[in-house]
């Protein structure tokens, strides 16, 4: 079975850097670059983790920055799914003037890469006086055209009869949205939520330009700062890397079918 050997070899190659991160994070700083590299550490050194969360300045910004990352990614996730579902509902189950135009205009923004508008976005957040705040971190990236598209496609499949009978029973529009539409598209909403959370968690470029003060920085910025300080020890650096990856791995193992399941032909962004 040559082909299976290929798969195994490839799997090992993919796992090596992750194993390197995990192992180096518990090595003594002097052993990270030992020759030859030992995959089983000679001595365990968990002190790295203390240094990782304390930071080189001993100010423990790690916790604040982790909270910021969770708060930012969580808020963006909720706002994105809510706004995208609402828009998807409005675009599919109501016939109002300009509906098609609105849909096309929203879809067109898929062709605008974030990198091409980030500088004007920064100028806008400065003008709105929300730069270097949670609002500045969250609002400008809380929705994507892809999300609207995905939710619209999903809501299209909800039968009109459900909605009509609820209306006859006297349910209000908001009630219909939360009690009928939302539950029927839950799998798509969960898929979207995970995708959005991960992208926000991974996002470097927007927090990098919009945030200056330590108390609003996110984890990627914490790592960058850790990396910039030349006296950082590499084992502690890997400990930070592990800590920053744990939440995503928990999400991955809990919801793995949403990550690698079939029918997930979802768009991604660099």
């Amino acid at each position: 079975m040559v082909t299976v050997a290929v798969l195994i070899l490839f799997a090992v190659a993919i796992l090596v850097p992750i194993a390197f991160m995990l192992i180096s994070s518990v090595k003594h700083p002097l052993d990270v670059f030992e020759f030859p590299f030992r995959w089983i550490p000679r001595r365990l050194h968990f002190y790295n983790y203390l240094q990782a969360v304390a930071g080189n300045d001993q100010k423990y910004y790690f916790f604040r920055n982790t909270f910021n990352s969770l708060f930012m990614a969580g808020s963006i996730m909720c706002l994105n799914v809510l706004m995208a579902s609402a828009a998807g509902y409005g675009l599919t189950k109501f016939r109002f003037k300009g509906r098609q135009v609105v849909f096309v205009l929203i879809l067109t923004t898929m062709m605008i890469p974030f990198e091409t508008i980030m500088i004007p976005l920064l100028m806008l957040t400065i003008r709105l006086r929300i730069q270097d705040t949670y609002m500045g971190l969250i609002f400008p990236i809380m929705l994507t055209a892809f999300a609207v598209f995905l939710m619209r496609q999903s809501i299209l499949t909800v039968p009109d009869d459900y909605i009509d009978s609820a209306r006859i029973d006297g349910a209000g529009e908001l009630r219909i949205f939360f009690r009928i539409i939302f539950p029927s598209v839950r799998p798509t909403a969960v898929t979207l939520a995970i995708l959005v959370f991960r992208e926000a968690w991974d996002n470097l470029i927007w927090p990098l330009i919009v945030v200056q003060s330590e108390k609003y920085k996110t984890l990627p910025l914490y790592i960058i700062r850790f990396l910039d300080e030349k006296y950082t020890n590499e084992a502690a650096l890997m400990a930070v890397a592990v800590l920053a990856t744990i939440p995503m791995f928990v999400l991955f193992f809990t919801f793995s079918r949403y990550f690698i399941g079939e029918g997930i032909l979802t768009g991604a962004k660099g």
Binding site: P17, F37, A86, R95, M111, E115, M118, A241, F252
Partner: protein, 300 residues
């Protein structure tokens, strides 16, 4: 409930999204376009001065931006080709293990796992691997059986810095495309392969005559997503430059926009670069969509 009332509710549901895209997509896009014809220092309070096409003339005649285009293209093509081809081969093999769905899942999860690691973390791990004392040198020297270890300067030589960023990107995203190909491959009916086997078709022939044509919609999607994603790369290059790699070799367009705006404070030039990047990606998407749509094959 009247039609008029329902129209009104439709607008209410759509309104948040409409406001969002107007304020955070269209307005910045338009102001990017407008700013690209003006001279303006980001920090100064002076009103922007209209200078016509001068920003564009400047960036397209300066070595700096032309070099960025080159760096971006080298990176994008260098990533794109291995990404879309290796992931297809791997996905085909994984799909062939049809009888062992548990094993398929394990492989899929392993291949996908680097996509979970954030861009900054990936770059950080690999910085240590590419360190002169790191694993990369040790491994190559071991393979080559070098009597005296050679330092390949993964981070220091311009060409090697390019290669290193490509390796990281490939590592991070290959599994993502394996998953997408896999989803496309399992939707091809197995009966087609069975019929081909009865006719005595070789594995090679089955791959080119059945798999590729039927997978075309997935392949199109992967090609577009992969290329555009590669062109937009930022994190890895940022981390590399930040930790001392030669900027010129990996100064991709998005990194250049960032530096031009936030370190040189030149709003006009940064937005001129942004508009150029936008046009490039736009042309590419449109052209590619058109090429591939004409060759679409259907066996139904």
């Amino acid at each position: 409930m009247g039609i008029r009332r329902r129209q009104y509710w439709g607008w209410i549901f759509v309104l948040p999204a409409v406001l969002f895209f107007a304020l955070f997509s269209y307005f910045p896009m338009i102001s990017s376009f407008v700013a690209s014809f003006h001279a303006k220092d980001i920090l100064s309070l002076k009103a922007p001065k209209f200078i016509g096409l001068q920003n564009y003339i400047y960036i397209f005649t300066s070595q700096d931006f032309l070099n960025s285009i080159k760096a971006t293209l080298i990176f994008a093509v260098g990533c794109f080709i291995p990404l879309v081809s290796v992931s297809l081969v791997i996905a085909t093999i994984v799909v062939s293990l049809r009888r062992f769905p548990k094993i398929q899942n394990v492989f899929k999860m392993i291949y996908y796992s680097p996509a979970i690691v954030s861009g900054v973390v990936s770059a950080t791990i690999w910085l240590l691997i590419f360190d002169p004392r790191g694993l990369a040198n040790q491994f190559i020297n071991f393979l080559a059986n070098n009597p005296t270890p050679v330092d390949f300067k993964w981070l220091a030589l311009p060409a090697m810095a390019r290669l290193s960023t490509i390796i990281i990107y490939f590592w991070k995203y290959v599994g993502y495309f394996v998953i997408i190909y896999f989803a496309g491959l399992v939707s091809i009916p197995t009966s087609l392969y069975e019929v081909a086997e009865i006719d005595g078709a070789s594995a090679w022939k089955k791959f080119w005559r059945i798999t590729i044509p039927l997978l075309m919609p997935t392949i199109e999607f992967v090609l577009i997503v992969a290329f555009v994603q590669c062109v937009r790369t930022f994190s890895i290059q940022y981390v590399f430059v930040q930790s001392g790699s030669p900027r010129e070799a990996i100064n991709v367009v998005s990194l250049n926009i960032y530096t031009t705006a936030l370190q040189y404070h030149s709003l006009g030039r940064a937005t001129a670069m942004s508009v150029s990047l936008f046009c490039f990606i736009l042309i590419f998407t449109v052209v590619q969509l058109r090429i591939y749509r004409s060759e679409r094959v259907s066996y139904v």
